[in-house]
């Protein structure tokens, strides 16, 4: 931790007494490595995502060499969706995770076609895609149309704030947030809201870019993030700033252990995490009892 802070300081000359944990509770919050006021962060994040919305998935493919698809598959397989599920995918504007969940449920239905009970249940399946950014939601809706899912009643697109969800208590079987929680102003509030909307037995799953601790790989990864990704953003999406923010915000996000303890603090049980690609991303999971 101290070592990581030190390198971070050298790189950016931020004041040494600030660590990610204290930042989360302070009124000044982080926007990448910059310190900004809390009110500003959501606006700035909003701007970033409005900027990148159109190229979001293209850039994801470029930056992760297509791996983000596998990560999302892994997330959904950990969730193990079932017919009749009420699921909330937060910060999932482009529908990537929601489509996968729907596919997985449909394949279950095909397997159990002879079971009439499941067919009724299928009608009840609802996947709510919630995103604070209308631009991202529009991208998702268009993609749903392209996939022929435009008429599917199972997909519900909702604009909303992860820190103040518009859903009732104990109404969801599952909650996923993929590459989103890093961008919120108050992680604790998001976790509390997730806990609130989930039913007993409901699961919280979070896919997020995280911290690499493997020595040599870490150096390579840092080099890649700080030299390649912003340039890639400039060339492919024509937006360097947004991708500079992306790599900085990853470094700002609490490390796996810390984040896991935050999830436990929100009331979740059986909190576990799994590192993928040596910690480039981590899937955290918790269970509400």
């Amino acid at each position: 931790m101290a070592l990581r802070l030190l390198t971070r300081n050298l790189r950016n000359r931020i004041s040494p007494n600030l660590c990610s944990a204290s930042l989360l509770h302070s009124h000044a919050t982080s926007f990448g490595f910059k310190e900004v006021r809390e009110e500003e962060k959501s606006q700035m994040v909003g701007k970033v995502f409005s900027n990148v919305a159109s190229n979001y998935d293209l850039m994801n493919d470029f930056m992760s060499a297509g791996l983000h698809r596998l990560w999302k598959d892994r997330l959904v397989s950990k969730l193990s969706p079932f017919p009749g599920m009420k699921h909330l995918d937060v910060a999932g504007g482009t529908g990537d995770v929601a489509f996968r969940i729907l596919e997985s449920i449909n394949s279950i239905r095909r397997r159990a076609l002879q079971d009439p009970i499941n067919d009724d249940l299928q009608e009840e399946t609802r996947i709510y895609v919630c995103d604070i950014n209308q631009n991202m939601l529009n991208v998702g809706k268009n993609r749903a149309l392209e996939r022929g899912l435009g008429e599917d009643k199972s997909l519900v697109w909702v604009q909303g704030d992860a820190e103040a969800l518009s859903f009732e208590d104990n109404s969801m079987d599952g909650y996923t947030i993929a590459f989103g929680i890093r961008n919120v102003t108050h992680i604790e509030k998001v976790l509390t809201e997730a806990y609130r909307v989930l039913k007993r037995g409901g699961r919280f799953l979070c896919l997020e870019l995280s911290h690499v601790e493997i020595p040599v790989f870490k150096e390579l990864y840092d080099l890649y993030s700080f030299s390649v990704i912003p340039r890639l953003g400039e060339v492919v999406a024509g937006d360097r700033e947004s991708y500079q923010y992306l790599v900085e915000s990853i470094r700002r996000f609490p490390p796996q252990e810390k984040f896991a303890s935050m999830i436990a603090d929100a009331g979740f049980q059986k909190v576990e995490y799994e590192n993928l690609v040596g910690g480039v991303v981590a899937i955290h999971s918790g269970l509400k009892i």
Partner: protein, 292 residues
């Protein structure tokens, strides 16, 4: 001795009667994007100070200034209690849906918990099969402890009786039992299922009144393990009313084994006798040589 150890584990386990996961934290980590995870069990950093009633299932190497979290009473047991409740209810659906996720989903719905919880069970279907194995063992132990039915029986009759009691427990599921066996034989699950079988065999031998700890220990357990497994397999294809053929088969195998034991015993005596004979003649020979 083993019996008391088992009992102690069982009694201290609270609602989950055979705790396979003591106060350790499982951190699953996999390198790269492979889907094969290698679960590593990491000893709780604060393990020495916390008892099994540690406050959360997730223990962090809490950084300084970390506020104490949940003061709830033993959420791990709470989770395992819920898991046991769901799995118990799921067993009723096994006959229709098999040892499957569907059965567990149906079970969760029955007890009024979101079926999402099934996703958090380690190794999915294996959790259900292992729960059933534990449950049966527990019921068998209860019967051994309470019943007088073993009192006036010879060891071979006791073995027969106990194996039969245990196999009768899985008789309702016999149509789905091949599936359970294949789940148990899966490389990821095989170590647990082997352990569970070993415990079962051990329990039966103890109930049969075996208290020896010599080399025979291994022989006995191997033989009984063989009898149990072959009878279990025989049962799968047995269509006779109330598995009459199976019980006949079992009876014959137990008798064979005890005959074998007798044969081994006799061979041993013979060897001893031969040894003694040789020894005395050698002694006599040496004595005669020395006398000269």
């Amino acid at each position: 001795m083993y019996r008391t150890v088992v009992n102690r584990i069982l009694l201290s386990g609270g609602s989950r009667r055979l705790p396979k996961y003591p106060d350790i934290r499982t951190v699953t980590s996999s390198s790269w994007f492979s889907t094969t995870t290698q679960p590593q069990t990491v000893l709780n950093p604060s393990g020495s100070s916390t008892s099994s009633s540690s406050s959360t299932s997730f223990q962090t190497s809490s950084a300084a200034g970390d506020v104490p979290r949940h003061e709830r009473n033993n959420p791990r047991a709470e989770f395992e209690g819920e898991q046991a409740r769901v799995l118990q209810a799921s067993l009723r659906h096994v006959i229709r849906l098999g040892w499957s996720e569907e059965a567990m989903i149906a079970g969760a719905k029955e007890v009024g918990i979101s079926p999402s919880i099934v996703g958090s069970f380690p190794r999915k279907e294996a959790a259900l099969v292992e729960f059933f194995m534990d449950d049966c063992l527990q019921r068998l132990i209860d019967r051994i402890d309470s019943g007088e039915e073993l009192q006036n029986l010879t060891p071979s009759q006791r073995i027969y009786k106990l194996v039969r009691i245990r196999l009768e427990m899985q008789a309702p599921y016999v149509s789905k039992w091949p599936q359970a066996l294949s789940i148990q034989a899966h490389p990821l699950n095989v170590s647990t299922s082997f352990k569970q079988r070993a415990m079962l065999i051990d329990e039966i031998w103890h109930a049969a009144g075996d208290e020896t700890y010599d080399l025979d220990w291994y022989v006995k357990r191997t033989v009984l393990g063989g009898i149990y497994s072959t009878t279990e397999i025989y049962m799968l294809t047995d269509s006779s009313p109330e598995f009459r053929d199976t019980w006949l088969f079992l009876d014959n195998r137990v008798k064979d084994a005890f005959d074998l034991k007798k044969t081994i015993q006799e061979a041993k005596y013979l060897a001893e006798a031969v040894g003694a004979g040789m020894g005395s003649s050698l002694q006599g020979f040496v004595g005669r040589v020395l006398q000269r």
